[in-house]
């Protein structure tokens, strides 16, 4: 009987040996690998740059909101202490706080309403505020269709007329994209209670008017800003006595300080009218005195040395310099710079908070595009790497390599390249993003960088690089592994 060969299945090569062979291969083709890594790095860096900038912008936007609010305490209080505000403003203000908050308490006591009444008023104010927001978002045509030319509280007056409500309810369902915040019953109940709500809001307005009149009597001819500079002292007590909720510990010192800074700033800006002071600045920047403006003055005052010179010049022309020191001028100049940065940050971060991950409509689109660019770039690089090694694949198959081994070898290789390229790209992209954002927003925001988010973003970027690289390697290597060895050799 004739002997037959005993064909048993090939053993699989152990993973460590596969890894070693792969690394040897990469080391031999170091330049080629470096180019591939560079492609991956650039793609991932692009992606990471967009991601990091988006994350930073989002963090800065949140931070800015708080800071801007705080920096405008004095303006808010100046407004509060000089005018009672419109009905709409009162309703909105109430709706934006909790029923038990100090502001709600203040309104409650000023309006002279009972607790139960005020609670009803609070409910209606919330509903009114939702309606205001709804109508504010409408474009003119839709708005005119729904409520004709009525604005603000007039809207509710119009809706209370049978015609007005009929028109509104007939047309609203035809506007498919709109969602009215109140249900039918809620709206009916709200409109029914509207005269009462309006009267209550007017009560609040009246109460405020009285309180403001009282304060006005107290401060006499003094300008409100000057009075507010004393917010920590007697004037603060006057405000509280008039019925306003004016926190003596948390708010008063800030308001007083901001009022003083504002006064000093006005004085400084006024000092620019003097020829001597203008000349000092003009000399420093080597321009004509006529070209000196307020912006230049603030820039000039940022250094203590020029602040000292400027103060001397002010004294020379007998401008009132009481309470001003070079340090104070420098501080004022720097605060002003920080405020400018805040305003700029607010402007630059407009629109963040929507779209994917709250990154903003434009940025999430950019992110998607950059991901596609990243994928195509990496696929191309991997495709080249695999196709140029067809002969090697064929030879390995002649030596008895399994298809799985060849696949694994290429997927491993691209994983290595992906990890290295991805890491380089992620760090690079993140650094560029940080640098760009810091220079755009100013160093004021160095503290508000979202370190954890950025780290997570870097991980995502690296993972994406690896997945894309490995994914891109699978198809060509599968194709190469499946080919008969001679076919593969011929393709080369």
């Amino acid at each position: 009987m004739n002997k037959t060969i005993e064909i048993s299945d090939q053993p699989r090569l152990s993973l460590p040996r596969t890894v070693r062979i792969t690394i040897d291969g990469i080391r031999y083709r170091l330049f080629r690998a470096a180019v591939t890594v560079a492609v991956i790095a650039v793609a991932v860096a692009f992606l990471m740059n967009i991601l990091s900038e988006s994350l930073i912008k989002r963090a800065v936007a949140e931070d800015t909101h708080e800071r801007v609010e705080r920096s405008q305490f004095v303006h808010n209080w100046m407004a509060r202490l000089s005018a009672p505000g419109t009905i709409e403003a009162i309703l909105k203000e109430l709706a934006s706080v909790e029923l038990t908050s100090p502001i709600a308490n203040e309104m409650s006591s000023m309006s002279g309403l009972s607790d139960a009444e005020f609670a009803r008023f609070y409910e209606n104010a919330s509903a009114a505020s939702k309606c205001f927001a709804f109508f504010a978002d409408l474009d003119y045509a839709k708005r005119r269709n729904l409520v004709h030319t009525a604005v603000s509280v007039e809207v509710f007056k119009r809706l209370r007329t049978p015609d007005g409500l009929e028109q509104f309810e007939a047309i609203l369902p035809t506007m498919k994209s709109l969602r009215f915040p109140l249900s039918g019953e809620e709206l009916t109940a709200f409109l029914q209670a509207w005269p009462q709500t309006l009267a209550q809001a007017q009560n609040v307005q009246e109460g405020r008017k009285k309180a403001i009149a009282g304060i006005k009597a107290k401060r006499g001819q003094t300008a409100i800003l000057t009075s507010l500079a004393d917010a920590e002292g007697q004037f603060g007590n006057d405000i509280r006595a008039a019925g306003f909720h004016f926190d003596g510990d948390a708010v008063a010192p800030v308001v007083a300080e901001q009022a003083r800074a504002l006064l000093d700033a006005r004085r400084l800006e006024k000092s620019m009218e003097q020829k001597t002071t203008r000349q000092a600045i003009a000399q420093h920047y080597n321009i004509l005195p006529a070209d000196v403006n307020v912006i230049l003055m603030w820039k000039y005052l940022r250094s203590k040395k020029s602040a000292r010179t400027y103060l001397e010049k002010m004294e020379e022309c007998e401008v009132d310099t009481s309470g001003l020191t070079p340090e104070r001028l420098t501080i004022l100049a720097n605060v002003r710079q920080a405020e400018k940065a805040l305003v700029r940050a607010q402007r630059l971060t407009v629109g963040t908070g929507e779209g994917w991950m709250g990154l903003g409509e434009r940025l999430s689109w950019l992110l998607l595009v950059s991901m596609m660019v990243c994928g195509i770039g990496i696929s191309n690089a991997m495709l080249m790497t695999v196709t140029e090694r067809f002969t090697e694949i064929a030879t390995l198959k002649c030596l008895g390599a399994l298809d799985g081994f060849i696949m694994l070898m290429f997927v491993l290789e691209s994983c290595f390249l992906g990890v290295v390229g991805g890491a380089i790209g992620a760090v690079l992209g993140c650094l560029i993003g940080l640098g760009r954002m810091l220079s755009a927003f100013g160093p004021v925001f160095a503290g508000s960088m979202p370190a954890l988010d950025l780290l997570a973003g870097m991980f995502i970027a690296v993972a994406l690089g690896v997945i894309l690289a490995a994914g891109a390697a699978v198809y060509p290597s599968l194709k190469a592994a499946r080919l008969a060895p001679m076919e593969a050799m011929r393709i080369e």
Binding site: K3, I5, Q10, Y28, C398, L399, G400, D403, A484
Partner: protein, 256 residues
């Protein structure tokens, strides 16, 4: 698996190792069917040294790829050690290529990033030999081809002849029954070509390895047992060396 026993009354060691039945292969290129092989039937027994000759385009390389299980025939069958190659799975094919056949190519095809020793031990690794044993055997094989002291060199640091010798050592890694050489001396000068031929002859005589060798090299005539001419995808003629000897003049002129 098919098990036929052709005229096989001889001793065990003279058994048929490669047999083809009605082997045909056609390629379709731009809609034109090109027939590279048109029905080749051949039997090769163990321990033989066969030279395959033929002008280029004769289907010589295609024939080689068929009997080396590197390509599948359009029609017909290839039996290696009485196993029908067409019926093997991918894993079994890999096993066959790893253990039963050694390949030597015209352009050496060493793995560029591996040292000579690693090149020789790679097939062993695929075959499941332990690293230490593989190293030992690899050094023995390199010794046979006279490159023991160059084991740590990469292909790029070696001459063509040396690379081909490493390739021969690699092809012997798993003690194959058949050695397929596709014009092993074509890229080498006369002297190094001669060395390669001597190594092949020695392997054939001392170790009893079956060698099938495609070649244009007339020196092959001196060392082979049988000669086979392929022309236009058909076997033109098979002859023993002794019979051909007298006609060397004419044939030499034709096959060169």
């Amino acid at each position: 698996m098919e098990q036929q026993s052709p005229q096989q009354s001889d001793a065990e060691k003279r058994r048929v190792i490669i047999r083809t039945v009605g082997l045909k292969k056609s390629y379709i290129m731009k809609g034109v069917v090109t027939e590279a092989l048109r029905g080749v039937e051949v039997e090769i027994v163990t321990g033989e040294f066969i030279s395959v000759m033929g002008p280029s385009g004769s289907g010589k390389s295609t024939f080689f790829n068929m009997i080396g299980a590197l390509d599948s025939p359009t029609v017909g069958r290839v039996f290696i050690d009485e196993v029908d190659v067409a019926q093997l799975t991918a894993e079994e094919l890999a096993y066959l290529r790893c253990h039963k056949i050694g390949y030597i190519f015209q352009s050496y095809n060493l793995i560029k990033y591996m040292t000579a020793l690693e090149n020789v031990t790679t097939p062993m690794a695929f075959g499941g030999v332990m690293p230490d044993e593989a190293r030992e055997r690899g050094m023995e094989l390199l010794d046979i081809v006279g490159l023991k002291d160059r084991w740590h060199h990469r292909p790029i640091e070696m001459s063509g002849g040396q690379q081909q010798r490493v390739a021969i050592a690699r092809s012997l890694a798993n003690q194959p029954s058949v050695l397929l050489c596709d014009e092993p001396t074509a890229n080498l000068d006369l002297k190094t070509g001669q060395e390669i031929l001597e190594i092949l002859q020695r392997l054939n005589q001392e170790k009893g390895v079956t060698i099938i060798c495609a070649t244009h090299d007339h020196r092959m005539l001196d060392i082979c047992d049988r000669l086979m001419w392929i022309r236009d995808g058909m076997i033109e003629r098979i002859a023993r060396r002794e019979d051909v000897h007298i006609e060397v003049g004419t044939i030499g002129g034709e096959s060169n």
